[in-house]
């Protein structure tokens, strides 16, 4: 019985059609087991903790709600974090498919959020119909230019994109921190002044069904972008060229793909999505910027992208799962009493298992190969025995 079950798992892990899905599910299961062990060691009930994660992001009802808020408002807050997370994951995916690692998503988010905030967010009299598109445009442009710069440095000067993005991250972080501290600081909160409601990408305090909700505009943008990325990679020549460069740079060059253009455009595209993630994060979710702090989301999105097997549709589901832990962490922390940093620990563990995906597939393949070998050996042995018996009879 047990053996049959194992073979089933190995089969799922190694089959072409299902392996990506199975690996992700297995990674999530392993993550749940590991975090349960950590919670148990701390003397907490993991089931209660996981339930309060779900309660915190409006998927399960809480025991009691404060005035004016309800399950729906929690759920919209969850969507509000989900949208930049998904956009950031798309940003990683676009670069990753081209064989590049955009570790600079955090910096690009910070830059675009900062520029959009100071250019649009502080203008008092501006119609929301003008301000919101302008914010998106500035965000996309800032992120895109920053990404293109990285691509240019990579191609022209042979600077590994991981090193350059990290350097650029810190440069952006210090520069924006300096300007926020000297010019745009709110003396009370020590972070930047909040931007006007007209520019904000979240409709705040919309009454729905008796509770007030913050409806994020970003989630629509994020889903549209995910479909767009899928379309580009599945249906266009441009997307195919990017994938070709990602698979083998020299091969792509021989078949006539302009590798230089592909690298720069891919990083620029990646930057555009990071920029959109930045504005939906800083002008949607938080509405303020803490100086000299890179958003951790830029790194968490790598976990999302890997878990979603670097496919845009997979990223939608993966970000929905990872965000549960991010969004529900506060409620979980207050109701179960575990520090809310456990959310990033859980994300890290998930990332670890997602990175082992290739190994899991190989284990599945090996297992099947072994069983196949055993079967063949048994047949051969039986055959040999038959032959020798026959030979003996003849003699």
């Amino acid at each position: 019985m047990n053996e049959k079950k194992n073979r089933g798992l190995a089969g799922l892990l190694s089959s072409d059609r299902w392996s990506d899905f199975t690996v992700s599910v297995l990674a999530i299961l392993l993550m749940l087991i590991t975090s349960s062990i950590i919670l148990l060691l701390m003397g907490r009930n993991p089931l209660v903790a996981f339930r309060s994660f779900l309660q915190g992001c409006g998927i399960l009802p809480k025991a009691n709600y404060g005035g004016g808020s309800g399950m729906l408002s929690d759920f919209f807050d969850y969507l509000n974090i989900l949208s930049p997370m998904l956009l950031a994951a798309l940003s990683f995916i676009v670069a990753f498919k081209t064989g590049l690692f955009n570790i600079g998503i955090s910096g690009q988010m910070l830059l675009s959020g900062f520029l959009a905030t100071i250019m649009v967010g502080y203008i008092k009299e501006l119609s929301p119909w003008l301000a919101k598109p302008l914010v998106l445009l500035i965000g996309a442009a800032a992120g895109g230019l920053c990404g293109a710069l990285i691509g240019f440095l990579k191609y022209r000067f042979n600077i590994h994109e991981v090193v350059s993005t990290i350097m650029v991250n810190y440069i952006i972080s210090f520069t924006t921190g300096f300007f926020i501290n000297t010019r745009y600081v709110d003396m009370l909160t020590r972070s930047s002044r909040i931007c006007t409601p007209a520019a904000r990408l979240t409709w705040t305090k919309v009454p729905i069904g008796g509770v007030s909700c913050n409806i994020p505009l970003g989630i629509v943008i994020a889903i549209v972008c995910a479909l767009l990325v899928k379309f580009i990679f599945d249906r266009t020549v441009f997307g195919f060229e990017l994938k070709a460069v990602g698979t083998s740079r020299s091969c792509a060059r021989y078949v006539g793909v302009n590798v230089r253009k592909s690298i720069i455009l891919s990083m620029a595209f990646s930057g555009v999505f990071a920029g959109l993630a930045g504005v939906t994060y800083y002008l949607g979710y938080t509405n303020t910027m803490v100086p000299k702090t890179l958003p951790g989301m830029g790194y968490d999105s790598i976990a999302v992208a890997l878990l979603g097997n670097s496919s845009p549709i997979g990223a939608i589901f993966a970000s929905a799962i990872v965000t549960i832990f991010q969004s529900g962490a506060n409620y979980m922390s207050s109701s179960v009493g575990v520090a809310k940093e456990i959310a990033s620990l859980i994300t890290g563990v998930l990332l670890l298992f997602a990175a082992c995906g290739e190994f899991m597939k190989e284990l599945g393949r090996r297992k099947i190969q072994k069983e196949e070998d055993k079967r063949i050996q048994a047949i051969q042995a039986a055959h040999l025995k038959e032959v020798s018996e026959k030979g003996g009879a003849d003699r």
Binding site: M42, F101, I103, L153, F157, N158, I159, H160, V162, V163, S164, I166, M167, V168, N169, Y170, I171, F174, T175, G177, F178, N181, T182, K292, Y299, D300, I302, A303, L306, A339, E341, I342, S344, L345, T347, G348, V349, L351, L352, A355, C356, E358, F359, E362
Partner: protein
């Protein structure tokens, strides 16, 4: 001026030891972006050991520092096994593995620092207060004009680092093991054919890399930061990687690059003090090493020769 050399050296040496760690890993053929995570995790273990021991010794005692350094090396080395496991045995993409190891290190140390503080003191602080190591001035040489600053107010760990760097230089370029390690990064098939063990060599190299990074991390915690907190992830690990790239994966030239980085950082601070700017402006000067790195990379990256097999998964059956 002397302060420039003093501060510059105390920043350059921890950076150097991390860069040497990075060189070891890359020379064996394992791309190592995990230095940042190694140094943070190593420093966490070291700081934890120091905090535990500090309760039993007198306040002025310098013993915890050396214990912390030992444990930081151990912690970094043990944590490095994760990167080795992922990138050598599990055949994961080495860049991804490095990033994973970094993210996990930040998450784990942040979480466990507050957990440990809650258990030890009852307050959920995310800091271990360590204090700053004592400093010593070498009597005669420190009086020399200009370079005398190099020998003033030295942290004891600077000497330890210098000894370690010389030892690891010797190990890499003058011993049989070092020869094999370098072969492993250039042409692992050749090493395998010559009877070497590629997997074992890479494991040892990555562990050395983790141990050295851990030492670098705890030295930063005991000098610039004066405590252990998540702010140890300042990107110095990445700076060490950048230093390694300029140093063209060779230990002697990396020494020079690290000294330049250290001077640039100290110089920025001195300039800020000399110009009597407000503390906000330190951010601009703190940015200098990173800007310098970018500029230098633009000029020097073209001529680089990274180890040939670095970043490639080793497959015995491949030619």
């Amino acid at each position: 001026m002397t302060k420039l050399f003093t501060d510059g050296l105390s920043f350059a040496l921890p950076l150097l030891i991390m860069a040497v760690g990075a060189i070891y890993s890359e020379k064996s053929g394992v791309t190592n972006l995990a230095i940042e995570g190694f140094q943070g995790f190593g420093a966490f273990i070291g700081a934890l050991a120091a905090v535990l021991i500090m309760r039993h010794v007198s306040d002025s005692s310098q013993v915890p520092i050396y214990v912390a350094m030992l444990f930081a090396a151990l912690g970094g080395g043990v944590y490095a096994c994760l990167h080795a496991l992922l990138s050598v045995n599990f055949k994961a993409n080495q860049v991804i593995s490095g990033v994973v190891v970094n993210i996990l290190a930040v998450a784990m140390t942040t979480f466990f620092t507050s957990a440990a503080n809650t258990a030890l003191t009852g307050t959920a602080s995310n800091k271990f207060i360590l204090g700053v190591s004592n400093r010593y001035t070498i009597p005669v040489i420190s009086g020399v004009p200009w370079i005398g600053g190099l020998f003033q107010k030295m942290y004891p760990f600077e000497w330890i680092i210098i000894v370690l760097v010389i030892f690891f230089w010797y190990l890499m370029y003058r011993t049989r093991f070092g020869m094999r390690l370098r072969a492993c990064g250039e042409n692992p098939q050749a090493l395998d054919a010559a009877g070497g063990n590629v997997v074992r060599t890479r494991w040892i190299a990555v562990i050395i890399s983790g141990a050295l990074s851990g030492i670098g991390g705890i030295c930063f915690a005991y000098s610039i930061m004066a405590n252990y907190s998540p702010s140890i992830y300042m990107g110095y690990g990445y700076l060490a990687i950048a230093a390694m790239i300029f140093g063209n994966w060779s230990i002697p030239s990396t020494v020079l690059v690290c000294l330049v980085f250290g001077m640039a950082k100290a110089g920025g601070q001195q300039l800020c003090i000399a110009m009597k700017l407000s503390s906000n402006y330190t951010d601009i000067f703190n940015m200098l090493p990173y800007v310098l790195t970018m500029l230098l990379l633009i000029f020097f990256s073209k001529r680089n020769h990274p180890p040939q097999a670095s970043g490639q998964v080793w497959d015995k059956s491949r030619r």
